[in-house]
C-alpha cells in the first residue's frame, strides 16, 4: 500500500501540470502512469496553444471565438476561465524554458488557426506538444515529485453510498506492469484523473494506442456522469494509411485543399466562402467527405493538401516536422507533391463531468485534460484549445485537490432530483451484462470509516479480478473484440450519422459486451503482461463506445461535430443543453442540464455559425 496527499493518474500535459500545482501548494504528490511520462500522447500535439498574449487581442475575443466554435454548447464560466488563465499559464511554460518558436524581437511566435479571429496560436515548430510535455516533465524531475511509471490504474477506490454525490474517493488500485504486482494507493486529499483521450474506440484515429479512455470509463462506473460524449472531433487532415495527423498549422500557414478535379473545393463548392481551408474542423471534415461521396475524391478515399507554394524556407522553419511525417508514414515528399488527407477521429470533446475547479460529484475525485468535460469545447473544439485546457484546468485541479481555496464553482456537477431526464429508444439493452454484478455498483463496493480500508477492500476485489482473468484458459481474445468494436464505430458513428447506423452500432457493442464475458488472457506471465492490460482496457472501450453512441442517438439535431442525416438543423429550442449519462446499477441513465451562456460581463447569444 502506498500513501500520498494527492494522487494524479496519468502524466501527460494535464497530469504533469496538476502534479506541479499540487506540489507548489505543499502537497505530497505522486504521479501514477501506465506509460513513462515522456511517452504520453500530449507529445504528439503539433499545432500550438491558444493564448491572448498580444496587443489587439484579449481573453474576451478568445472566449467569443471559443463559444462560437463550440456551437454554443460550451459553458461560459469554463470558457472564460480558460481564456483568462491561458496567457499566464503559457508564459509560465516559457519561464520553465519551453523552446517556443521566436519572433524577430525575441518574443514567442503566434500563428493563425481555424476558427480564431486573431493569430493567437503560440507554437514551437510543428511539435508544440513534445516541447510542452518535456518541459513539464523536467519541472517534475526538478521538484523531485514521485513518479510511478508503467503502473496501470485499473480501479478507483470509491465508497458505495447510493447517491454518487455522497461517495468519497479514497485512492486507486494500480498494477505494476513490470512485476505484475497489484497494489493500493491511498490518497489523503484527492485523486486527479488525467488519463487522456479515447481514440482507440475508433479504427482510424490520430490517437496513440494507449488512448483507451481508462479514466473516463472508471469514473463512469464509479458514479460520475459522462457529459456530451456524442461530440467526437474528426480532424480533417490525417494521413489515410495510418491516421497520423497533419497539423492544422499547415492550413494556418496557407496550405490549400484540392479535390480530384484540382478544385479548391472549400471555396468552389461553397463550404466556407470566407474562411476557406481555415473554417473550423467540423466544417472542413464534412466538406472533404462530401467531396469524396460526390465522386470528387482521390482513389474514392481522400483529398489533397498542398503546401508546396509556401516554399522550402518557410516550411523548414515552421512545418519541418510535417515533412518527416508525410515522408515516413505516407511515403510522400511534401515539398514536391501534395499530401493525401482524410478525416480521422481526433479528440473527445465530452468526458468526465467536472466543474471549473476540476472536481467531480464524487468528493475527492477530480479530472482534467482530455478525459474531462468541464465544457470548454462544447460540440466542437477549436484547434489549439486543448493544450491550454491541460495547463489551465490541470493546474486548477492540482491546487484545489491540495486544499487551495479557488472559490465556489459556477458549474454544478452530479444529477439532482429535478434534473431533466432523457429517453432514447435503443434496439438492445445497454449497460452491464446481468452476471457482471459486482462491477455494476460503485467501484469501492463498501463503506468504511477508515479510507485505507476502502482501498484495501477494492484492492482485494481487483486482485481477484486480475487473478481470474489470468486463470481462465480459453474463450475469446481481446484483440478480436477490439477490432470488431472499432470497425463498427468507424462505420456507424463517424462524421455523418443516422439513426439506423447508430442503432447498428449499439447492437454491435452489445454483442461485443456479451462476448467480453468470455474473454481470457492468453499470457500467463506476471511480467509485463500487455495482454492483460489490453484486456482490461477493452472493457473501458466498450463502455465509452456505448456512451458515445447513446448520446449521438439521443441528440436528434445537427450541432458542431455532430451531424444527423435526419436532422440537419441546429435546434436551439430543445438542444441548448448537455447530454449526461450516469451509470446506475449498471444501466446508463440519460439526463440533461442546460448550457450556461451567461459570462462574467455578457451573455453569449447563439448565432448562426458561418465561416
Amino acid at each position: 500500500m502506498y500513501e500520498h496527499d494527492v494522487i494524479v493518474v496519468g502524466a501527460g500535459g494535464a497530469g504533469l501540470r496538476a502534479a506541479i500545482a499540487a506540489h507548489e501548494e505543499g502537497a505530497d504528490v505522486a504521479l501514477v502512469t501506465k506509460l513513462h511520462p515522456v511517452r504520453s500522447h500530449t507529445g504528439a500535439a503539433e499545432g500550438g496553444i491558444n493564448a491572448a498574449l498580444r496587443e489587439g487581442d484579449d481573453w474576451e475575443l478568445h472566449a467569443y471565438d471559443t463559444m462560437k466554435g463550440s456551437d454554443y454548447l460550451g459553458d461560459a464560466p469554463a470558457i472564460e476561465t480558460l481564456c483568462q488563465d491561458s496567457p499566464k499559464e503559457t508564459i509560465q511554460l516559457e519561464h520553465w524554458g519551453m523552446a517556443f518558436s521566436r519572433e524577430d524581437d525575441g518574443r514567442v511566435s503566434q500563428r493563425p488557426f481555424g476558427g480564431l479571429s486573431f493569430a493567437r496560436t503560440t507554437y514551437a515548430g510543428a511539435e508544440t506538444g513534445h516541447h510542452l510535455l518535456h518541459t513539464m516533465y523536467e519541472q517534475v524531475v526538478k521538484r523531485g515529485i514521485q513518479v510511478y511509471d508503467e503502473w496501470y490504474v485499473s480501479q478507483l477506490a470509491v465508497t458505495n453510498e447510493d447517491d454518487p454525490e455522497e461517495r468519497d474517493c479514497h485512492g486507486v488500485i494500480g498494477y505494476d506492469i513490470q512485476t505484475g504486482n497489484v497494489e493500493g494507493f491511498v490518497a489523503r486529499d484527492g485523486v486527479i484523473l488525467t488519463t487522456g483521450g479515447l481514440g482507440q474506440v475508433f479504427d482510424h484515429t490520430t490517437n496513440a494506442v494507449a488512448n483507451t479512455g481508462d479514466g473516463a470509463a472508471m469514473a463512469y462506473r464509479a458514479g460520475v456522469p459522462l457529459e456530451d460524449m456524442e461530440f467526437i472531433q474528426f480532424h480533417p487532415t490525417t494521413l489515410p494509411s495510418t491516421g497520423v495527423l497533419i497539423s492544422e498549422g499547415v492550413r494556418g500557414e496557407g496550405g490549400i485543399l484540392y479535390n480530384s478535379e484540382g478544385e479548391r473545393f472549400m471555396f468552389e463548392h461553397g463550404y466556407a466562402n470566407n474562411e476557406g481551408e481555415l473554417a473550423s474542423r467540423d466544417v472542413v471534415a464534412r466538406a472533404e467527405l462530401t467531396e469524396v461521396n460526390n465522386g470528387r475524391g482521390i482513389n474514392d478515399e481522400y483529398v489533397h493538401l498542398d503546401m508546396r507554394h509556401l516554399g522550402e524556407e518557410r516550411i523548414m522553419d515552421r512545418l519541418e516536422n510535417i515533412l518527416h511525417l508525410a515522408e515516413d508514414f505516407e511515403g510522400v515528399n511534401a515539398l514536391e507533391e501534395p499530401m493525401p488527407v482524410k478525416p480521422g477521429q481526433h479528440y473527445a470533446m465530452g468526458g468526465i463531468e467536472t466543474d471549473e475547479n476540476g472536481e467531480t460529484c464524487i468528493s475527492g475525485l477530480y479530472a482534467a485534460g482530455e478525459c474531462a468535460c468541464v465544457s470548454v469545447h462544447g460540440s466542437n473544439r477549436l484547434g489549439g484549445n486543448a493544450l491550454p485546457e491541460l495547463i489551465v484546468f490541470g493546474a486548477r485541479a492540482g491546487r484545489h485537490a491540495a486544499g487551495k481555496d479557488l472559490g465556489e464553482a459556477e458549474i454544478s456537477t452530479g444529477k439532482t432530483d429535478d434534473a431533466e431526464m432523457g429517453e432514447v429508444d435503443t434496439p438492445v439493452e445497454p449497460g452491464a451484462v446481468a452476471s457482471d454484478d459486482d462491477s455494476a455498483v460503485a467501484d469501492g463496493g463498501a463503506t468504511f470509516a477508515d479510507p485505507t480500508q476502502t482501498v484495501e477492500a477494492t484492492l482485494e476485489a481487483e486482485r481477484n479480478r486480475v487473478e481470474s482473468l489470468l486463470e481462465k484458459d480459453d474463450g475469446i481474445q481481446q484483440a478480436e473484440l477490439r477490432s470488431k468494436l472499432q470497425k463498427s464505430m468507424t462505420a456507424n458513428v463517424n462524421v455523418f450519422r443516422n439513426e439506423d447506423g447508430l442503432k447498428q452500432a449499439l447492437r454491435d457493442i452489445r454483442e461485443v459486451r456479451e462476448e467480453y464475458q468470455d474473454v481470457y488472457v492468453n499470457d500467463p506471465s506476471r511480467t509485463f503482461n500487455t495482454d492483460l492490460i489490453h484486456t482490461i482496457e477493452m472493457q473501458n472501450l466498450i463502455d465509452l463506445a456505448e456512451a458515445i453512441t447513446l448520446g449521438a442517438l439521443a441528440r436528434d439535431e445537427f450541432r458542431g461535430a455532430h451531424w444527423r442525416q435526419e436532422n440537419q438543423e441546429r435546434r436551439d429550442d430543445v438542444w441548448l443543453k448537455h447530454t449526461l449519462l450516469s451509470w446506475e446499477d449498471g444501466t446508463p441513465q440519460l439526463w440533461y442540464k442546460p448550457t450556461i451562456l451567461e459570462g462574467e460581463n455578457k451573455t453569449y447569444e447563439p448565432k448562426e455559425r458561418s465561416y
Partner: protein, 288 residues
C-alpha cells in the same frame, strides 16, 4: 498413480511449489504456453508475406526462460512498418508477444528496437526498406525484461543526472512577460530539444556499453540543450560544465558517430558532444 507422477514432474520444473488451485492452474497454463512454440506457417503461397524472426524471452514462463527466436509470417501491405507487423503478429498469432509502443508516429520514443542489427524505431521503419527475414531484437546493452522490452531505468538515471531542467536567476517578475530569446539561439538548441528519450543512441554506443557511468549521448545532448540556451545565465553554465567536465562526462566520447547514425530524430549528437568538449576547454582556460 501415473497421472499423479506426471503432474508432479511438471510442477517440479516450476521454481516454487504450487500451493492454491489457482497457482496450479496457472502453472499448467505456463507450461502449455512454453510447449507450443510459435511457428506460424507462411500463409497462402501467392500472398506476399513478411518473415519476422522475433526474440522471445520470459523469466516466468518455462518454455521461454531460454531465449529463442520465433518466426512469424505476416501478410505484407504497402506502407507497413515493423511495428505494424509486430502488432499484426501479436493480435493474430500470439497475444503473449510483448513490446512497448504507443504513438505510432515517432514521438513517444517507446519502440526503439534492434532491427536487422541496427537500433531503430519500429514505427518509423518501413518493411520495404529491409531485407528479409527481418530480425527483431530488444535494444542491446540493456537488461531484457521480457521479449522485446528492456529495462530503461539506467537510461533514465543518466538523463536525470545532468539536471535536465531549465535554471535561471533572472526570470521576469511579470507573469505575463516572456524571456526574450533570439531566433538564432533557438535555432542553435532546436535539434537538441527533439530528443524523445528512445535510448537508441545509448544502446549503440560502445563506450557506454563498457562504462556504466558514462553519461552517454542522450544525456549529454540534454545538457547541451540547456548549456547553449542563452536564457540560462553564465553562472549556471559554469555549473553545467562542472557536471559535464568530469571523468565519465564529455571526455569519454570517442567520436565513433554510432549514436548520430541511429538517432531517429536526426540529432547531431556527436557534433553536440564535440562542441561541449570545446566549451569545456574554454571554460577551464577562463578559470586558470
Amino acid at each position: 498413480m501415473s497421472t499423479q507422477l506426471t503432474e508432479e514432474s511438471e510442477s517440479e520444473t516450476e521454481t516454487e511449489r504450487t500451493e492454491t488451485p489457482g497457482d496450479r492452474r496457472r502453472a499448467e497454463k505456463k507450461a502449455r504456453q512454453g510447449r507450443s512454440s510459435e511457428v506460424q506457417e507462411p500463409t497462402e503461397a501467392d500472398e506476399e508475406t513478411v518473415h519476422l524472426k522475433v526474440f522471445r524471452y520470459d523469466p516466468e514462463v518455462e518454455g521461454k526462460m531460454d531465449p529463442r527466436f520465433d518466426d512469424f509470417y505476416v501478410p505484407f501491405e504497402k506502407g507497413m512498418t515493423v511495428l505494424d507487423a509486430l502488432m499484426y503478429a501479436r493480435d493474430r498469432f500470439d497475444t503473449t508477444l510483448t513490446f512497448r509502443h504507443s504513438c505510432r508516429q515517432a514521438i513517444c520514443g517507446s519502440d526503439a528496437l534492434f532491427i536487422n542489427g541496427t537500433q531503430r524505431l519500429g514505427c518509423k521503419t518501413q518493411i520495404s526498406d529491409l531485407d528479409g527475414p527481418i530480425r527483431v531484437e530488444p535494444l542491446p546493452h540493456a537488461e531484457v525484461v521480457k521479449d522485446l522490452v528492456v529495462d530503461m531505468e539506467h537510461f533514465y538515471d543518466q538523463m536525470h543526472s545532468v539536471e535536465p531542467y531549465f535554471q535561471t536567476n533572472d526570470e521576469p517578475s511579470d507573469e505575463l512577460e516572456e524571456q526574450r530569446q533570439t531566433r538564432e539561439n533557438r535555432e542553435k538548441i532546436k535539434m537538441s530539444t527533439r530528443c524523445i528519450w528512445c535510448g537508441a543512441c545509448m544502446s549503440s554506443c560502445n563506450i557506454a556499453a563498457g562504462d556504466n557511468q558514462y553519461l552517454g549521448p542522450a544525456a549529454l545532448n540534454k545538457a547541451f540543450r540547456f548549456a547553449m540556451d542563452k536564457r540560462e545565465g553564465e553562472d549556471m553554465k559554469e555549473h553545467r560544465f562542472e557536471i559535464l567536465d568530469q571523468e565519465h562526462g564529455v571526455w569519454r566520447c570517442q567520436t565513433q558517430f554510432s549514436c548520430t547514425n541511429v538517432c531517429p530524430k536526426d540529432i547531431p549528437l556527436t557534433e553536440h558532444i564535440q562542441e561541449l568538449k570545446r566549451e569545456a576547454v574554454k571554460n577551464n582556460l577562463k578559470f586558470w
